[in-house]
Amino acid sequence: MAIFRNGTVLDHDSWTVVAAGAPVPAEGDIIIALADFIAQRDALLGRVGPVGVAVEAGEELDDIVGDLPRLVLVALRFPKYTDGRSYSKARLLRERHRYGGELRAVGDVLHDQIPLMLRCGFDSLEVTHEPTLRALREGRVRGVTVHYQTSAREGREAAPNPARRWLRAS
């Protein structure tokens, strides 16, 4: 497993994923399941180390929306790469709730969906698929770089033709 972040593949990740229901370590960066976060919210937010929350594809964002400023990371799962719910949730987090922390795609993260994930606001990806990792390392994950929609990356994509207001180029 490796993390793709800011254009590079990192083989080490500072984050530890706490198994569902397992005790929370006192120190270190932890990612905790949404249900556990809700159950231990006050203790977790009072903790010294950074806290991230993992949201499954079928779970709602409602319970973390108020705490977003204090969450250093939110992980959204793609249980299968064909399950597209986390795209919408990523956009909601970025564009509606103005979430500014790390937004991580976890689960079935593959080559051909990565360009879409980045446009929906993910800035880190947990990748296990070897060919995908290789393609990332070799800079072969491009997709189509001109777009007919704005995205959660507004400000970081060029607007090539002001007369056609929603065109973007990444």
């Binding site: 399950d83 795209y87 919408s88 564009e95 879409l116 777009h147 704005t150 207001r165």
Partner: protein
């Protein structure tokens, strides 16, 4: 017609490169079939019984002569010299090799075409009335809006992995020829009180296993709000549409299970929030004007209402008169007509055209129809703008090419999906049934006596042949290894949309043509007169007399 600019060209070129890379990774083994399948479907590549099939997008069914010639060339070079026009205004090639697809996409890109999103669980090719820009009853041309939607939906970052496929259709006329009420989103162009343009919005129609007529969620959506509103619908669907069961994943099931009122509230709330946070979703009047300019009416001459050449031909040539009676549609421009080219010759596969026929039609359109051809969801082609003076010449050319079948809207103008002759999902064959029915009713006088009748055949419950909305629908099923056919009656996809009712147990392949004839004879015997169409008669009589005629033993 819409023309690509620099940006649009770059988009399709990069898309060709992306898909070529995906094909190369598949052939090298880097991608497994499970990983590749959704990617190839997103590019219209199916694996059918005999080979890969390629579905080429014909956005809102509009083609230029140059484009149609390119389709003919591709069919001849990479396939078996013919193409199949589908109920979604696309064209399918049945014998494609995967390794050739990148090259074919390159040829398509040369004429501003692609295969993007002609399959897969994404927003599909947007369809529209085949008589757009020509029909006398049109409020406004729907194609500029369909083009705006085409662009917006192309590789949408958020809506490319939906619970299931998602289809949009737009009609510009109150007489709905685009079957909008059996689409996931149906849009009907309207004028508001001050003459401004907007849409009635329908959601949740669809055919397949659980056919449903769409529900209206908006009476009047201003045109500028089109993208914001569609984005809202798609987001609600993407988040809450069912993903646990493929057969319950269409938005129609979400509408059904959530209830239209609650879903409408969700959509409206999402729409308000989107409007507030993303002003690029509102479509400026200048952009609508810019796109509309591509669809401006061609340089029509001002012609008298009547044409001597046309009227002489009507008197002299009974074949021509029959063609005019069925295949000519009144045009909004005086002195012009729109003509349907039937791809339903008696006894041949519905919707198929050979490469030479495509080329002949391209020549005719170039000479006599301002270079334009349309594809209808009835699997026919249309010459949208022909001078009345020229109609006799066009008819003669069509006759020479075996394309002058005068049966538009008649019992032999059958919609049929590819069925078990090609399709890997099929339970039974569709095309041979269509062929036998059309042979049974081949007599032109008999067809005309029967009048308007839409007969639609699907080879399985996926309903690509629209059987649910056929006045007479036929559904192929398999029973103990044999092909059987169920009959539904009383469906229609127009503005009075209804789903046909199954009349009883299915008929064997040997029995089905007789059964159809029984239904039609029953109608002829019971109608109040030639003015009462099959659908009107069915709505007056109900299914009882037809059931009695079909299953005499049961009724006794």
């Amino acid at each position: 017609m819409y023309r690509y600019d620099e940006f649009d060209r770059r988009f399709v070129e990069e898309r060709v490169a992306e898909f070529s890379d995906q094909v190369a990774r598949r052939l090298s083994g880097e991608l497994s079939e499970d990983q590749f399948k959704p990617l190839r479907l997103m590019n219209g590549v199916y694996l059918q019984l005999h080979a890969y099939m390629l579905r080429i997008a014909i956005p809102y069914g509009t083609l230029s002569s140059r484009q149609l010639r390119k389709l003919a060339f591709i069919a001849r070079t990479y396939d078996r010299g013919y193409g199949h026009f589908t109920t979604r205004q696309n064209m399918q090639l049945n014998w494609i090799a995967l390794k050739d697809v990148p090259e074919i996409l390159g040829h398509l890109a040369d004429v501003e075409m692609h295969c993007l999103q002609t399959s897969g669980n994404c927003i599909r090719n947007v369809t529209a009335d085949q008589f757009s820009g020509a029909a006398a009853d049109e409020i406004a041309d729907p194609r500029p809006y369909a083009e705006i939607l085409r662009q917006w939906s192309s590789i949408h970052p958020e809506f490319t992995y939906l619970p299931r496929k998602f289809k949009l259709a737009v009609t510009g006329a109150p007489n709905d020829r685009a079957a909008i009420q059996v689409h996931d989103i149906g849009l009907e162009l309207r004028r508001g009180e001050a003459g401004e343009i907007g849409f009635a919005v329908y959601v949740g129609g669809g055919q397949g296993r659980t056919p449903m007529v769409a529900r209206k969620v908006r009476d009047f959506l201003p045109e500028a709000e089109l993208l914001a509103y569609c984005t809202a619908i798609l987001r609600v669907y993407n988040l809450y549409g069912r993903r646990d069961n493929k057969f319950k994943a269409r938005i129609k099931i979400l509408v059904h299970e959530t209830g239209i009122e609650e879903l409408k509230r969700d959509i409206e709330a999402e729409y308000e929030a989107l409007r507030a946070e993303n002003e690029t979703l509102s479509v400026p009047a200048e952009e609508i004007a810019r796109i509309s300019a591509y669809f401006a009416p061609p340089a029509f001459e001002s012609l008298p209402e009547r044409s001597a050449a046309f009227e002489t031909a009507l008197l002299r040539d009974p074949d021509f008169a029959r063609f005019v009676e069925r295949n000519l549609v009144r045009h909004k421009q005086q002195g012009y007509a729109a003509l349907t080219i039937s791809l339903k010759p008696i006894g041949l596969p519905p919707g198929d055209a050979s490469s030479s026929q495509m080329e002949a039609i391209a020549d005719i359109a170039e000479r006599w129809s301002f270079d334009e051809i349309r594809v209808s969801h009835e699997q026919n082609l249309v010459l949208p703008h022909v001078r009345l003076d020229d109609v006799p010449l066009v008819f003669a050319e069509l006759q020479r090419n075996g394309l002058a079948e005068s049966n538009a809207g008649l019992v032999t103008d059958i919609i049929a999906c590819p069925g078990l002759d090609y399709c890997s999902l099929a339970n039974a064959r569709s095309i041979p049934i269509a062929q036998r029915i059309s042979e049974r009713f081949a007599d032109p006088a008999r067809q005309r006596e029967i009048g308007d009748l839409k007969l639609k055949i699907s080879g399985c419950i996926n309903a690509c042949g629209h059987h649910h909305v056929g006045h007479i629908g036929i559904l192929g099923v398999e029973r103990k290894g044999e092909e059987f056919y169920q009959i539904t009656l009383g469906g229609t996809g127009d503005e009075t949309c209804s789903i046909g009712e199954i009349v009883g147990k299915g008929f064997s392949s040997a029995e089905i043509v007789d059964a159809v004839e029984t239904v039609i004879d029953t109608y002829l015997a019971l109608r109040t007169g030639p003015d009462e169409t099959f659908l009107q008669a069915f709505r007056r009589l109900g299914e009882a007399p037809f059931v009695e005629a079909l299953y005499p033993a049961k009724a006794a």
